[in-house]
Symmetry: C2
Subunit: 476 residues, 2 copies
């Protein structure tokens, strides 16, 4: 790898053209820090191309001159995948100016947008077409479609609509040697050889830079029911999920677990009102949605019946159904602030794990016991997408403990939790990806054969190793 | 590539063990002919392993000795992908004895089965779990899960549930060098690096042999409405689809187009009763299904209202709703016999194309005009999955024409149709794959860059080029 000299930088600026680059520290600053402050990067140059052809020309120059290049979307990632390292050698390329809509095709129920379009804007465009784009996550006001694709984003709608991978029909990608691959297609069926787009979805910008995508749209949900339900145990949660999926005709769109301690934190630090009269240990935020109108489906009544049946079967102990949009927002705010609120209680060691849904109870039992044994007084706050088998197994420090000393044990605790996940055939990164944060750990949990295949793919597509080098897999 | 000599064959027999191979011509016969009779193959040895480890050992031997190996599922493919060529050098490996269920996991809504399980048996197993496996195609009584995965099978449920690719959570695969990759996972979210399973889905056994899979299951449909609708035009069809998806709350599970000439053929040759009183040009077989019970959703009423609205908007001219299971079967039989019935009218030149749904009317208009110009009197019988943009654009010979002379123009007609498809950003193989039939054509329509990427993937995974060599891509 070459360190970019002034000559390289001048050449890149000239390719990027006026407005297509910056080295102003104030402009660069927000692109060089991750919002959780885990990483800070340095770069000699921020590239800001506004067309796929510009991206291709810039990548080609970097390829031909062996300059390392890091692609960045909305910079909302959690694993350091979109930040340059601190060597000051890696050039940063932001896709944010590449943000046009290429094609609205309502009869095909698709939209083709460039990588820099912000997710919330995409959702709004779909709504203008009287359709719906289902990907939804906390950072949707900032994150970009290209980043969502590169990280195979998850979020709260996965149960019904799948991950971002399931929403992509076609891609346009700049390959690591600067060639532009036009794989933009609105086809729902195409078996003409290997499905090349799959290579680029979820590969975190290591195999190519996504510049545009054709995405599936759906009929809009017209009717939503939301409840917070107290449940006796995680085992009851997954039985409730099965019951609700069956009784609702598969209309469960969100199924999130919230522990008692999380509600307590919210009441203590964020002025939240606990909607429960009795303090139970576990809660499910359940939502059903339908794009059928009320004339044809009385979702309110159906939802009530699901709850009644669940109470009869002792899967639900108590519950609050949102009776207005405001109440719905309040229930969702409890869920959405669970990550944030932990900081008021000191250090938090985080995990983004998944196991088969059926193994969630066993995971919670084993992992809780193991971390309590390692650090007496530790306060687990497991929450999140239990309907997908995905738990954010976050661990708040013991009361009164020293924060720094606690956080120093991050890796040790990760290993305890991830060993249990691995033993249950789970994933150490369900939705956040590998980036730089988990490269080392990946080598512990992936089979040598899988790692070897990954390295071979990286070498095949990026033999010069210039694109997001060292992320996901270390090439030799 | 080496021609297998007696020594090689003896060694393979000894690895396969008793019952694990055959060279009896009677046993081999059904494995060496395609049901459309387009291909006939020869092989010195049929391998019949009953475990993944056996498959791995056999592949390793072939790899180490550079012997070409062709994997075969239920042998229902249409493009020669699962047959040995006529050189007599290619060894055939059938997965049919690898047909155990590995794991039923109702709470995770998954099932893990081996490659040789027959699709209809898998559907029945899901039903025993009070769940539903949605892949459904004409050959479901014979085709096998491994073949469905390797060919990324489509069929009649794609509109709601997607292709086979969308139903796979994890895979076990024997790689071309005989290593066994255990990617069997029931996880719905797993962002730990490149999604390796995608390489093997739809790659027709050229990159690895699928030996087992973990598949998604869904709540069972409890309520189905089916109708045959006469429509004024293909444009009306796609507007009807949009209307029906919206009004039904996305419950449209099948949406198939049937032309007048197809119904006429069925009446003439298969004793079918034409359900329409008036002879319209175009028909849609539309089905809506829901896993909600009748208490909560009056699907019959809803379906009726969709039809009434469609008639008001002049998207539907007339219609017959199935009022019994028998009537439903009769309507589906019309659709299912459309391929078969054409043989009574002489030669039929076939296409399996897709375009974006919005471009279907333009495709039909242009392609019909072009083939009529090339062969006056030609009788197009376009039918199939219009809801997915996938039309089987089959062309029956002019009345009284010479069948052989007509079929001799197969490639010429293919080129006319596929050029139009290509101009509309479509696919020349929507669901049947490339196999041997379309290898040449693929080089005409895929970009050199895409072909180059495919060849690189093949070389990376199968550098010795022993696995299904020459299918999909020709390696140099």
């Amino acid at each position: 790898m070459t360190k970019p000299d002034q000559n390289h930088l001048d050449n890149l600026k000239s390719i990027a053209g006026a407005g297509g680059w910056s080295d102003d520290p104030d402009v660069l600053a927000p692109h060089l820090v991750e919002w959780r402050d885990l990483y800070q990067g340095k770069t000699p140059l921020l590239l800001l191309p506004d067309s796929s052809e510009k991206v291709a020309a810039l990548v080609k120059y970097c390829h031909d001159n062996r300059l390392p290049l890091v692609p960045q979307g909305g910079n909302t990632g959690l694993v350091g995948g979109g930040l340059p390292d601190d060597s000051g050698n890696e050039i940063l390329i932001s896709l944010k100016r590449l943000n046009k809509v290429r094609l609205r095709d309502p009869l095909n129920q698709t939209i083709t947008v460039e990588a820099g379009v912000i997710l919330a804007d995409l959702q709004a465009m779909a709504e203008e077409m009287d359709l719906y784009f289902p990907l939804s996550l906390a950072s949707e006001g900032t994150c970009q479609v290209g980043g969502n694709i590169s990280s195979n984003a998850g979020g709260v709608g996965v149960l019904k609509y799948g991950n971002m991978r399931d929403l992509v029909l076609g891609l346009e990608v700049v390959l690591p040697d600067g060639q532009l691959w036009d794989g933009l297609t609105g086809l729902r069926k195409d078996n003409t050889g290997y499905d090349l787009k799959q290579l680029f979805i979820g590969s975190e910008g290591t195999l190519g830079i996504v510049t545009a995508a054709t995405l599936k749209l759906y009929p809009r949900p017209l009717n939503t029911q939301t409840a917070l339900l107290a449940i006796p145990s995680p085992q009851a949660a997954i039985e409730l999920l099965t019951l609700a999926r069956k009784m609702s005709g598969d209309l469960v769109t969100a199924f999130e677990i919230i522990p008692r301690i999380g509600l307590d934190f919210l009441v203590r630090h964020m002025d939240a009102t606990d909607p429960m009269e009795t303090a139970y240990d576990w809660h499910i935020l359940m939502e059903c949605s339908s794009s059928l109108d009320r004339l044809h489906l009385d979702l309110e009544n159906l939802f009530q019946q699901i709850m009644e049946t669940a109470m009869e079967q002792e899967l639900v102990l108590d519950g609050v159904i949102a009776s207005s949009e405001q109440q719905r927002d309040n229930l969702w705010a409890l869920r959405e602030n669970l990550s944030e609120v932990q900081k008021f209680e000191g250090g938090s060691i985080k995990h983004d794990i998944s196991v088969p849904v059926s193994k969630i109870p066993e995971f919670l039992e084993k992992a809780t016991a193991a971390v309590e044994q390692a650090i007496p007084g530790i306060r687990p706050v497991p929450f999140g997408h239990i309907g997908d088998g995905n738990i954010h197994f976050n661990l708040t420090q013991p009361e009164g403990a020293d924060k720094a000393a606690y956080l120093d044990r991050w890796e040790e605790v990760n290993k305890i939790v991830h060993d249990i996940v691995h033993g249950l055939d789970g994933s150490i990164s369900a939705e956040h990806g590998i980036g730089r944060l988990k490269v080392e750990e990946l080598t512990r949990y992936k089979s040598p054969l899988a790692l070897d295949l990954m390295r071979k793919l990286k070498k095949t597509l990026d033999p010069a190793n210039i694109l997001n080098p060292g992320r996901i897999v270390q090439n030799d």
